[in-house]
Assembly symmetry: C2
Homo-oligomer: 126 residues x 2
């Protein structure tokens, strides 16, 4: 197995839909998150804002089942190919990349954001 | 225009083929790199190893023409949709993500790596 370079603790993880290859989100992993991802078959990350291990979907139910994990040439970035349960984004969009830099929305909201994490519960921020 | 949060100077940029949506690479941008990318229509980054602005393909000729720039929900990650000239990876693979974490190569090398940056010239590392 290739040992990613966890320089400064974290590596970025690009998350794509295993079927369509759409980029769903970018998050970060430390060694523990990657280990758990491999052992459980579900995506785990390290939350920089909450400063703790984070299983994607643990609150929302929007789990990411791992199909394959790729690593880049420099071995300091990961790519998770996943089957996404529900939506990846806390806004209710399927992908976090739903806007152009000019602010145009290029993809519809498919869920009420209150339905993603429960009304008033606050969002599970990455 | 959405102003990305250049927290700590740099934001990660996921680069995908505008046609196939294949993830080609991940690099980093500062404000200057993003400005030049928008003004010229060609992908610019900030090289963390060389500590300077970097136009993708300036040495290799493997330019990335910008089709669209997306931003994520948190406005701290960019996605460049590009038309890739040649290959994105210095190894001669089309994408930098050509291996699984277990070390299996899932995509062929399409160019001699010496052909990417010229024999003995050293690589233009990100």
């Amino acid at each position: 197995m290739i040992e990613p370079k966890f320089t400064g603790h974290l590596v970025p993880v690009v998350v794509v839909d295993a079927g369509s290859h759409e980029v769903l989100m970018v998050a970060y992993a430390d060694e523990e998150a990657l280990d758990l991802t491999r052992k459980t078959g579900y995506a785990h990350y390290y939350s920089r804002s909450r400063r703790k291990l984070w299983k994607k979907g643990e609150e929302s139910g929007h789990l990411q089942r791992i199909v394959r994990i790729l690593v880049d040439c420099d071995e300091d970035t990961l790519l998770y190919e996943v089957e996404q349960e529900g939506v990846a984004c806390h806004t209710g969009h399927r992908s976090c990349f739903y806007r152009t830099l000019d602010g145009e929305e290029i993809a519809p909201r498919v869920l009420d954001p209150d339905g993603v994490y429960g009304k008033g519960s606050g969002r599970a921020k990455r």
